[in-house]
Amino acid sequence: MKRPAGSKITLALAALLAVPAARGALGDVEASVEADRAAMHAMQQTTRTPSFTMHELRAPSGTTVREYVSPAGTVFGVAWQGPTLPDLRQLLGAHFDEYAAAAAERRTRRSPVLVQLPGLVVQSSGHMRAFLGKAYIPQALPPGVAAAEIQ
């Protein structure tokens, strides 16, 4: 392919732009919540409890995502609710492919999904206009926090 003049600058810029957008994400540090907020163009509200911090992200689409951060600073759970599914690749990060592969094994169709792997639990239900679900890393739950609190 023929390169235009000034290709070094172009290439350098391209290299910068080619860095994948920051992914949020389950298992990542608290700062990753900001990447999710930006990707969703969301309004953010933060609630702190003694056992975790919860960041609620409201997207213009009407879908709400809640990210749960442990006192150690790890995103240990995410939950969603709304008319469309959120970007699960963004929210689950490195765990997305694992989720998609496990979900594809099901013997149902258009039915609630339960994925229970050693390091990942995903529960997803609903239908168009009303989706609901959550994902968490069982080992990352702070002491005293039950999985049911992620919602």
Binding site: G62, T84, L85, S111, L114, S125, M128, R129
Partner: protein, 404 residues
Amino acid sequence: MTDATVRALLAASALAALLSPAACGGGGGGGSSSPSPVQNTQSIVVDGGPANIPNLVFTSVTICAPGSGTNCQTIDHVQVDTGSSGLRIFASVLSPGLALPQQTDGSGNPLVECAQFVDGFSWGPVKLADVRIAGEQASSVPIQVIGDGNFAAIPSSCSSSGPPENTVIDFGANGLLGVGLFAQDCGSDCAQGALPGAYYSCPTSACQPVQIAIDKQLQNPVALFATDNNGVIVELPSVGADGALTVTGSIIFGIGTQADNGLGGATILGTDPNTGTIVTVYNGQRYANSYVDAGSSGVFFGIEAFPPCRRPDQGFYCPVATQSISAVLQGTAQTSTDVNFAVANADALFAANPSFNAFDDLAGTAGDTSTTFAWGLSFFYGRSVYTAIEQRSTPGGMGPYVAF
């Protein structure tokens, strides 16, 4: 005599009236009626379908090039879904000779849809077709053609919602007949903003989410029928505790529009007008995001109500012995009704009769959020389940509602 038998007799007498030249037109009260009733009943079957999946119910749909009475194709094994709206057909089963015209967005670019289901997504262009089912017809209906090679590149905001369902086997059907509570699949949300994971504008460059007028979106075909356009009834006979190889029933178009589709003694449960949900009360717990959905395979609720089955059927329950449960379903207008339901050991059901496809006691988990109670196809056996479309009048009031 069951309601279904009464209805079958009424249908037979309506047919006799239709065939008798001296007979006056019958027609029930309520919705639109015509001098000679339209044939409004089509056969449905639970038989595993192309991917051998239990508890999916199928029918046949005829689609034609818009305005053509002859350039038509009948597609079998299109899944009947009351949990979504709009007709979707796989490109791989469509005859190229149909040459369905492409739907365009407000700027004249091709319109392509990302259909999100809870367990995956389906990507493909919106095209226009005349749709015929039983004696009913709708013209120039926007439908989705899934897996069309002309739009092979899937935007990441679409593919990021779960596993792909862009082949007949992954999807489990040759298409989906969405005859749910809503007149469109997305509705005002997509008319007011460009939603990722919904409609996309696809010029020759990359596809982008696009805001799209309501009438250009996928339409519930029933809402576009000339008559019998206020909803549907899905009727399936009872099956035994072990299940059945195949089960045959009917989808009847219209509610209270003809002699064969009256509400009878059905309890009407109004649904949330935005989400289509009702309330289930089970075991002292209130499940506010409940829904009745022929497109879902079983009855799904809770997470540890019973022991789970082994992987990959971990989403189903496997109690040691069949359990009887009862729940109360509540609608928006203070109406409620009791439902009794059996939860069998799914592994045992599948192992006892590996070829069986229809089970009324198949149940599984919906997660620990304690708000979802999904009444899927297991619930439909032995019932006539009514789905009334939003803002359409019926003898039982305006939709959206479910009744049984």
